[in-house]
Amino acid sequence: MKAVRTVLVALLLGWILPALVLPALALVAVPQLTGRVVDQTGTLSSGDIAQLTQTLADLERRKGSQIAVLIVPTTDGEAIEPFSLRVAEAWKIGRKKVDDGALLVVAKNDRRLRIEVGYGLEGALTDVTTKRIIDEVITPKFKSGDFAGGISDGVNKMIGLINGEKLPEPEPPHWDGQGMFGHLDALNPFLIFIVFIVSGGLRAALGRGLGALASGGFVTALAWFLWGDLSASLALGFFVGIIVLFVNFVSSGSGGWSSGGSSSSSDWSSSSSSSSDSGSFSGGGGSFGGGGASGSW
C-alpha cells in the first residue's frame, strides 16, 4: 500500500510541478480582439479610444483597409517583433486575399513599439516609411508622455499613406460578402414562402416535372435579381428545383405545400444585413509577412 501511495504522490507531483514551472516559460497570451483599439494599460481615456475607433472605422468604410491598435504593459521577455506577428496572425486584420491590415503595438513598460504591416500594404507602409513614422511622429510625443497624441498622429500618418494606395474597393455595407449561403436573405422565411406558393401554382399549371423545372427557373431569376451572381443563382435554382421535384412526386395531391408554407410566415424578420460598423469589430482574414518597423523611446 505504501508503494502505491508513493507512486500516486509521484504522479501528482509530476502533474503539478510542470504546471507551476511552465507559466514562467509561457509567452504572453494574445489579447482578445475586443475592438479596433485594445488598451490593456488604461493609458488612453475612453474619449481618446472612441475618437480613434471612429477614425479607424471611417478608414475601413472608405478604403476597406483595417488598422488596429494594441497597448500591452509588457511582452515579458519576448521581442516585440514575434509578439506583434503572433497577435497579427491571430487577429487577422485586413481583408482576405488583399491583406491590407496594419497593427500598431505598444509595449508600454518595455518602452518599445512596432507597426506590423500586412502583405497588401507593404507598398504604402514600407519599412522605411513606418520607421520614419515611429521615429519622427510617434516617439517624440511618447517621450514627452503624450501617448494619446502620439498614437493618433501616427495612425493619421498611416491613414494618409494608405489613402494614396490603390486598393480594391470596399464592399458596400448592404452585401455582407460572406458568401451566398451566409446571407440572411437566403434563409428568409418570407422568400421561402413565396417559392412554395409559386411552385404549387406552377405544378398545377404545368404538371409535376415541368413545374419543378419552372420553379427552379423562377428561383434562379429571383436570386439573380437579388444578388447579381449568375453562377451562384443557377446553382441555387438547380438545388431548389431538385427539392421541388422531390416534393412534387412524393406529396399526395395538390394540397401538400400549404401546411409547410403557412407555418414559416409568422417569424419573418427584417432581411437587410447590418453594416460591419455597428456590430463588433473582427479581422477580415488578412495575413502578415513580418513587414513594418520597430522603435523605442
Binding site: D127, R132, G290, G291
Partner: protein, 202 residues
C-alpha cells in the same frame, strides 16, 4: 480468403485516404512554397547590400577589410542557385545556409564598425537602409519559421504509420531543416572586453 482480404485492405486504403499519397503531395508543395519565400527574402537582403556598402564607403572608406568582406560574402551568396531541388540535396542545402550565414556575419561586423562613425549613423540614406535591413531580417526570420513548420508537417507525415509505407514506395525522403550555424562556436561563452578599440583618426 487471404488474397481477398489483402485486396480489400488495399482497396479500402486507396479509396479512403489514398494511403496518404495526397497528403504527402500537399505537404510537399507547402514545403516548396515556404522555401521559395525564404529564398525570396534572402534575395531581398542580398539586393540591399551594394547600397549599404556604398553609403558606408562615403563616411568610412578606410574600413577596407570589413567592406571587402561584405562584398565578397554577397558575391558568394549570389553564385549559389537556390531552386527547390536544393531541398532534395542535403549538401547543396548546407552550402546555401552556410553562405547566407557568412553574409549575416559580414553584415554584423559592418554594423559594429559603423558604431564608430556618428556622422554615418545620422545620415538619412544610411538610416533608411538600416530600416530596410531590419525589416528584411525580420521577414527572413518569419519565412524561416514558416518553412520550419512546413518541413515539420511534411516530415511527420512521411514518418508516421501508415503513410510512411507510401513514402517508402514512392521514394519520399525527409526534407532538410535549418540548423544553427556554428553550433560549436556559440556554445563557448563570449569574452567581454570593456576596452573599446580607439576610432581610427580621420
Amino acid at each position: 480468403m487471404r488474397r481477398l482480404l489483402t485486396i480489400l485492405a488495399t482497396l479500402s486504403c486507396l479509396s479512403l485516404t489514398n494511403c496518404g499519397y495526397n497528403a504527402i503531395q500537399t505537404n510537399d508543395e507547402q514545403v516548396k512554397a515556404s522555401w521559395s519565400e525564404v529564398v525570396n527574402q534572402y534575395q531581398r537582403r542580398a539586393d540591399l547590400v551594394p547600397n549599404l556598402v556604398n553609403s558606408v564607403k562615403g563616411f568610412a572608406q578606410q574600413e577596407k577589410d570589413v567592406l571587402l568582406g561584405v562584398t565578397n560574402a554577397r558575391a558568394k551568396v549570389g553564385s549559389i542557385q537556390a531552386t527547390p531541388e536544393v531541398l532534395n540535396d542535403p549538401a547543396a542545402f548546407q552550402k546555401f545556409t552556410q553562405a547566407q550565414g557568412e553574409l549575416s556575419s559580414a553584415l554584423s561586423r559592418l554594423l559594429v564598425v559603423t558604431e564608430n562613425y556618428p556622422q554615418l549613423k545620422s545620415d538619412a540614406l544610411f538610416k533608411d537602409l538600416m530600416a530596410q535591413l531590419e525589416g528584411t531580417e525580420n521577414r527572413i526570420t518569419v519565412s524561416r519559421n514558416r518553412y520550419i513548420k512546413a518541413v515539420q508537417e511534411y516530415n511527420v507525415g512521411i514518418r508516421t504509420f501508415p503513410n510512411n509505407l507510401t513514402a517508402m514506395v514512392f521514394g519520399y525522403k525527409d526534407k532538410p531543416n535549418f540548423s544553427v550555424d556554428n553550433e560549436k562556436e556559440i556554445s563557448v561563452a563570449p569574452k567581454v572586453d570593456f576596452n573599446p578599440t580607439p576610432a581610427p583618426s580621420k
